[in-house]
Symmetry: C2
Subunit: 572 residues, 2 copies
């Protein structure tokens, strides 16, 4: 029996499987650092102390040993990597546990997608735990591949790798006590319910907290963070590829509220993961900002473990998982060696495991782009002279509704790249319904060609923008033929393509391949005139019908403020 | 629906049931104290802020409002009070939640006794939550009223008021990986498992921690406390009537490990509860010792709440229970007003509730003293000239085995009060088996008369010590006729009697009555010559066969070191 062997090793009556020796233990609970050794048995810590002996011994050459890092909230899909590949990259950066919210794949594949994420990470170097996505689909104004019903939420809730209900984004719904949401929250009453409430303040914030929402990772200001802490909500300090909140929020941290703070990445693109890292990057930022190392580490280990009630990790003490990392110093914080459940998973910042199950698992969901091309036609018959165009705001997800004239030729409304007016289409890709939503977008800067993507929040239909219908069709077809992905095309030629065959969201390639393709796409889009920093990031949010003001789905143009469809053409 | 009303009040769309106004909120999470108001709805906090309005409003006259206190570990039976009366006293001292381990009543009544404790506190001013006693009975060397089997533990585990497995006292058994204990612990894997491991250190302590034991309240020294913290175990700083550990342990506290520390009383007699108080007394001691008020408060509120996973209390924030207390200042810390679930339960240190269910509930278990008197005979036929006497050590539970001559008269071994040698009997009182264990005790100082008690750890048989058989019989009969209790007698006269008809452990009287009777008993025993500070406390442990060295049960004399019966007479 495992437990009996663990205790025998703890007592010193049997040798450990592995002893880590010649190390400085960073005891984050007591703020002590002392020379010691760690005995490991069946992937767990059996004992701490230099009198341990083991079948195998590793000399850690005086390195500092810290608990493995925990990412309190991440969307793996944002990395566009297969979960097994994502795990390899995260592990190389000292992350041994992530709390992932599989919100994107759930919109494509429902409960099957969620189960896939669990399976795909199995046996990998990172323990992938999930929160169950709330609000799938977000609205009924777009077509998704699947929906999560109460029955399915219930099933998922009881899964051992599910730690709670993921960020409840419909915060106005919660505040106004919408019954379906309160039911969802009460379903997860015995687990954790995470929040997502940018900008929410005052009495409405208190209502959100009173509903049982226990955290927020969307704070941008100290005032927002303080208001949440005063309401008893925990704060995740976020530093992702698009959202940079850590430094702004650090002034809120003190010795008292520290236990209520954790670190998270939320969304990281592959280049960013490769270049800057994961939670280790956040730790470095915190250390640079003057946070004491042990306090910074607690926000990346014990605090998220306690928040998610993971009593088996977060501290280096007997009985807990042997998830740990070794660094040369506590300032530059470069993980030299990472152990997960007692085995080495990374060395010198490089993964020491292979993502062997990457391809085989990928095969399961490579047919999610289903389009009836016979019905796809980007022509827009003119029903007036002025249109409602989606106005892109640089570096923001919010768009404006811009009323402007469209050039009309032979009864058709056309793109007008000279005036930065592009055509946009959202092709329903889950059920081959043939449905296509058509509209216009202004502010992308594309002078010619087209961009297409099956990463299109939250419904992830095939979204295309372009200066002409031919380029749009080339880009869209290239993406569809790849089983999903992102492409840039000009006339009949595909200039850049990143295949994302896993649910149309994730690649089967390595992080290096995906990062390089991601870069090529951006370069190609910029060469065609696109003026934005991250062109595909901007494009992927043009269809998200819950962020104001005007968005396009496969079902049509949505006025988000009123949550209604509006006609493309303005009535004269 | 309750939740919808709570949110409506939180938003400010409906008036609260009650608003507490003109107060200084002690925000222990953020270490802030600020003027505010608290809106209460259905016993929970709906919102914080001066803009709250309510159907009823209380002016708190600028008082400091803190979360209600939590006693992390207490045996209610030690107060000898009915749970409802205990709750009234605790509430008057600002305690709104206790984690009680009904270990004593479980040895008398088993699962029925545990359910009684849950019922008896229902609707009272303190939320009584339980840990399930481990090791009932402690051994098979004594007869108890009941035993707890795995099946019953399982039933109890799922009770909503049960928070975990109580102090696992058989720490040598855990360390050596005794299967029954590991099974018990694993049964409670998803809840909390509390520890009890006085003196345990080194690798054996690590094995105990590795087994999943998460706390210890038996530390006496900083070194012990540090060893537990380094092993990841939490520490309860204890200050009871007999054990005074708080001041000795406070040096271990720092801003980092504070979250791992809680306060507990463990055992408090009624006089002590009345005079010194409960957790409020511990807070005062901590404040006197220089602990910052917010840090002291956290150990009495948030920390035990987090330890026992009571996410609905411990902080004054929206959604949590309106358990709170009002003090004039944060140094003398005298609770002026106590609210539990939004209703006033104490004013100016006096209970504001009646223990109306005290008597009716008591009737249920007033027949637990069942003795076949026809078989009770205190005469000891001489089987040698030297006996093994239990040697009392003042202020300690440990006894010595003293080999000494006994006066023999007409073939009987007799007490010899002139040499401080008393006779002792343990009368089986659960099943009327007629079984009586007989022996001798030295060191109590009694010159004449006898003392009897049905409080006799852990089996709680009727334990009698005395200078002569007549006095012993008078005391024993008096106790039995009262349905249990404690008595002092001289020849045919009962000098003092405290009836404890509830399972032979608890009174139906008020705390004042019990405290005064408790004092009268001690006075009477001292008048008869007893030299000990708390005579009945000492006597009640003379039968506890798990604390070395020599103890007497109804089955005979036990050598605790070898866990074997030994003969009373030493072989010549």
């Amino acid at each position: 029996m495992q437990q009996q062997r663990l205790l025998a090793v703890a007592r010193g009556d049997q040798p450990a499987d592995l002893v880590l020796r010649n190390l400085r233990l960073v005891d984050i609970l007591n703020n002590e650092i002392y020379p010691s050794a760690i005995a490991v048995c069946d992937g767990r810590i059996a004992a701490i102390g230099e009198d341990c002996c083991g079948v195998e011994e590793h000399d850690l050459q005086g390195g500092f040993v810290c608990p493995g890092l925990i990412d309190a909230h991440v969307h793996i899909e944002s990395s566009m990597l297969h979960p097994a590949e994502f795990a390899r990259v995260a592990a190389a950066h000292g992350v041994t546990t992530v709390i992932a919210n599989p919100h994107e794949i759930a919109n494509v594949l429902g409960v099957e997608g969620i189960r896939y994420m669990l399976r795909a990470g199995e046996g990998g170097p990172v323990d992938i735990l999930l929160t169950v996505p709330s609000s799938v689909p977000a609205t009924d104004l777009a077509t998704t591949g699947a929906a999560l019903q109460a029955r399915e939420l219930l099933q998922l809730r009881n899964h051992p790798q599910v730690v709670g209900l993921g960020e409840v984004m419909d915060f106005p719904g919660v505040v106004s006590a919408k019954e379906r949401l309160l039911d969802e929250i009460s379903l997860f009453g015995a687990k954790v319910v995470d929040g997502h409430c940018p900008g929410l303040m005052g009495r409405n914030l208190q209502a959100y907290a009173a509903a049982g929402i226990s955290s927020d990772h969307e704070c941008c200001s100290v005032a927002e963070a303080q208001a949440r802490l005063r309401s008893g909500m925990k704060i995740f300090l976020r530093e992702g590829s698009a959202a940079h909140n850590l430094r702004d929020l650090l002034p809120v941290l003190n010795q008292y509220n520290e236990r209520w703070l954790s670190l998270c990445t939320d969304d990281k693109n592959p280049a960013d993961l490769l270049e800057k890292g994961s939670i280790d990057h956040l730790l470095r930022l915190a250390l640079e900002a003057g946070v004491p190392p042990v306090m910074a580490l607690r926000m990346a280990t014990l605090n998220p473990a306690e928040h998610y009630r993971l009593w088996d990790r977060g501290l280096l003490v007997p009985g807990r998982r042997a998830d740990l990392l070794v660094v040369d110093n506590l300032s530059s914080f470069q993980p030299q060696l990472v152990y997960q459940a007692g085995r080495i998973v990374a060395r010198q910042g490089q993964s020491a495991t292979t993502a062997e199950n990457r391809r085989s698992l990928a095969a399961t969901f490579d047919d999610t782009v289903r389009i009836d091309w016979s019905q796809v036609d980007f022509r827009i018959p003119a029903r007036g002279s002025r249109i409602r165009a989606i106005g892109v705001t640089p570096d923001q997800l919010i768009t404006a509704c811009r009323i402007m004239p469209a050039p009309i030729d032979k009864g058709e409304a056309l793109a007008d790249p000279g005036h930065d007016l592009l055509k946009m289409a959202v092709i329903e890709r889950h059920h081959a319904s043939g449905r296509v939503g058509l509209g216009f977008v202004v502010g992308l800067g594309l002078q010619q060609g087209a961009m297409a993507s099956t990463v299109a929040h939250d419904h992830h239909n095939l979204l295309v923008v372009g200066a002409d219908d031919d380029s749009m069709m080339t880009a869209a077809r290239a993406v569809a033929e790849a089983g999903g992905g992102q492409a840039v095309a000009l006339a009949g030629e595909v200039l850049a393509l990143l295949p994302l065959p896993i649910a149309g969201l994730m690649s089967t390639g390595s992080v290096e391949q995906v990062a390089s393709a991601h870069l090529e796409l951006a370069t190609a889009a910029r060469r065609l005139g696109c003026s934005l920093q991250d062109p595909f990031m901007a494009v992927s949010f043009l269809g998200l019908e819950v962020i104001p003001e005007l968005k396009l789905t496969d079902r049509g143009l949505v006025n988000v403020n009123s949550m209604e469809f509006v006609p493309l053409f303005v009535e004269e």
